[in-house]
């Protein structure tokens, strides 16, 4: 996992609520046995028309959103299935940070485990970011150490993240390595545990 202490990047807006994982990565693309290469299928049914041509109207296809690494969306982002292919696809497409007014639980965790930073913000900030993101050159900086997001126009807001995950992300640690340090404790536990 790559460490992400501070990230500055272009912002793309997706003004929708309840964006579910079936939309993020439709199930016909879940059959690969690798972790990579899912970006080409991100939001597939929205990005492409039936005949396979690019749907120019879809937000992420607009010229101003090309090369964005920060995605802003509405409430309950990532609801639905537990498929980790959703964060893999977002990441492979180039997103490092997802900002939304709220996240579905499993998706939120899946992001953290893959080095994507989910940033929950109040609705009014989301509305502001969605509006600003219409500008082609709009950028934000996310400082994970400080737990703050800001732009160069004076917008600044703090966000919540669990300290455990903050440490993991900042250092780019592998969670299994961390847990295996407690292998003795797990063995002790197993000795006394009946399911």
């Amino acid at each position: 996992m790559e460490p992400i202490p501070v990230h500055k990047g272009k912002v793309a807006g997706l003004n929708r609520v309840n964006v579910d994982t079936d939309q993020i990565i439709p199930k016909q693309f879940l059959k690969r046995v690798e972790r990579t290469g899912f970006g080409q299928f991100l939001f597939y049914d929205w990005r492409f028309k039936d005949d396979g041509s690019v749907n120019e109207e879809f937000e992420l296809n607009r010229p101003e959103n090309q090369g964005a690494s920060i995605l802003v969306a509405g409430d309950n982002f990532g609801c639905g299935s537990s498929r980790e292919h959703a964060p893999w696809a977002l990441q492979d497409y180039g997103f490092k940070v997802i900002v939304a007014s709220s996240f579905a639980d499993i998706f939120y965790n899946n992001c953290l485990k893959n080095g994507i930073l989910p940033v929950p913000l109040p609705e009014k900030d989301i509305q502001y970011l969605l509006k600003e993101s219409a500008r082609a050159d709009y950028e934000c900086t996310i400082d994970l150490q400080e737990q703050r997001i800001r732009d160069d126009k004076g917008f600044e807001q703090s966000f919540e993240i669990d300290s455990y995950w903050k440490e993991m992300l900042i250092n780019g640690w592998d969670e299994i390595d961390v847990t295996l340090k407690y292998a003795d404790k797990i063995t002790d536990f197993e000795r006394n545990h009946t399911a």
């Binding site: 939309q23 046995v33 049914d45 455990y164 399911a195």
Partner: protein
């Protein structure tokens, strides 16, 4: 000691490491594995030279990709690769697998309880969001992602933040023709698709107590559609009787000892929850969804809403988008919506009792012209039992297709899909855009409602049907 909820009791029994204000390291008693979310996890283990810590606590099956006819000739090369990969991974890491040849194969959330792997008080995980199903037995069961699958394989534990608890209390008596599916749809319809986010829901009250284990599984199954981490029900005599004699359940005296222990898990009188909501079961009618998430549902006797009926701009926009996708006009009576497909199956509603309830409606009737209807039993065992009871013949005589077990049309990752723009009455749990196939329009209903829709080619109020003599 102060009164505790079942969630408190299970949590405290499984916390390997508990530091205040940090995620706890939670021990996992049962890890269920299927072909779609596991290949990358096994690959991760291989890359780092790690082993599966407790193959004996891990159990695998194949369900999402498998064809439900001609199951041994998988034409989709990539699906076949996932299935073959699971077989190889289970062999390499020493994990029990119910493969396509096994009489125990089926949808992971159907076979766990069926085999008695699912037991009260266990912590159960699976790389699948509907793992909440197992909560019906008083287990703490939740879906995880592939990284977590890898973590559990390697360590038999997970770092977890202790969830908040919510009690959803359903009192009263259900009317005739109203099923568990209608109850859970009505709950999600009333409180929304994310009212459960951050919570484990415990379902209580007279309605829940009166439900069979199968019905309880339907309720817990859809907890995730309310955004909840898990849903569960305190175990009682029905739970124990269901489990008695199942393959992985202790026998004889050990069983009695287990029951004693299980009984003590039930939430104590007067325990506190972070949130409590109440629902009057007697007011619930058979539900049909009209939109693209499970909260967008109304009683079958009502009409498709208009975006103007909603309060906030966001809700109005979401409703308009959903109606557009579903190809529905506001104010259309639900009973006038014509369907072309019927799917009876999925981990929500594919158990023997579901098939029986549907067969009761179907018996002596015929599927409407122009409707394609199929029944996909949740497991090979369900299929076998249904055939012993002659249910297959009732369905086949009426014009239904009778299939082998699997996820099938619940998600259309296999050959079973709904064509673009066509409408399906489905007993599954998700009516998301594209869930049953690109452009497919899904209406979630109970098994008897789906059966009736097959007969009439549109939604009908089964409460009227049940009074009518078969003719």
């Amino acid at each position: 000691m102060c009164a505790r909820t079942i969630v408190d009791k299970i949590w405290e029994k499984h916390a390997v490491i508990e530091e205040k204000g940090k995620p706890n390291l939670l021990y996992i008693d049962l890890h269920l594995v299927h072909e779609v979310t596991s290949p990358q996890a096994f690959e991760g283990l291989r890359l780092k030279g790690r082993k599966v810590r407790r193959p004996d606590l891990t159990f695998a099956t194949m369900d999402h990709n498998v064809p439900t006819v001609n199951r041994f000739s998988i034409t989709d090369e990539i699906a076949k690769k996932q299935i073959d990969t699971l077989v190889e991974n289970c062999k390499e890491f020493g994990i029990k697998l119910a493969d396509l040849n096994s009489p125990e194969q089926g949808i992971v959330h159907v076979i766990g309880p069926e085999l008695g792997l699912t037991q009260p008080g266990k912590t159960i995980v699976c790389g699948d969001s509907h793992t909440s199903t197992h909560g019906a037995f008083g287990a703490l069961a939740f879906g995880i992602g592939t990284s977590e699958v890898e973590h559990v394989l390697a360590t038999q534990t997970l770092w977890q933040v202790r969830p908040k608890t919510m009690k959803v209390n359903v009192e009263g008596k259900l009317g005739a023709g109203v099923t568990a599916k209608d109850v859970i749809l009505a709950i999600i319809g009333k409180f929304g698709v994310n009212f459960g986010t951050g919570y484990v829901i415990e379902y209580t009250g007279e309605v829940i107590r009166n439900m069979s284990m199968e019905e309880r599984m339907t309720i817990c199954n859809m907890s995730i559609e309310a955004g909840a981490k898990a849903g569960l029900i305190s175990p009682d005599d029905k739970t124990f009787e269901y489990l008695r004699g199942r393959k992985y359940v202790p026998e004889g005296e050990d069983f009695e000892r287990a029951v004693e222990e299980w009984r003590s898990l039930a939430t104590d009188e007067g325990a506190d929850y972070d949130r409590v909501v109440e629902i009057d079961g007697s007011e619930i009618a058979p539900q049909v969804t009209w939109g693209t998430n499970p909260s967008m549902c109304v009683p079958v006797t009502e009409r498709v809403p208009s975006p103007d009926d909603f309060n906030t701009d966001t809700e109005k926009r979401a409703a308009a988008q959903a109606l557009d996708y579903m190809g529905l006009e506001p104010h259309t009576p639900m009973e006038e919506i014509e369907i072309q497909h019927v799917f009876i199956g999925s981990c929500t509603n594919s158990r023997l009792s579901d098939l029986k309830a549907a067969a009761k409606i179907v018996q002596g009737r015929k599927v409407a012209p122009g409707v394609r209807a199929m029944v996909v039993p949740g497991s090979q065992k369900v299929k076998e039992q249904a055939e012993q009871e002659g249910l297959d013949q009732i369905f086949i005589d009426a014009g239904f297709e009778w299939r082998d077990s699997g996820c099938s049309m619940c998600l259309g990752m296999n050959p079973d899909t709904v064509p673009e723009g066509e409408r399906c009455a489905s007993t599954s749990n998700r009516n998301f855009e594209g869930r049953q196939g690109k452009g497919a329009r899904t209406h979630l209903v109970s098994p008897p409602m789906a059966a009736a829709a097959a007969i009439y080619g549109k939604f009908v109020d089964i409460r009227l049907l049940e009074k009518e003599p078969v003719g």
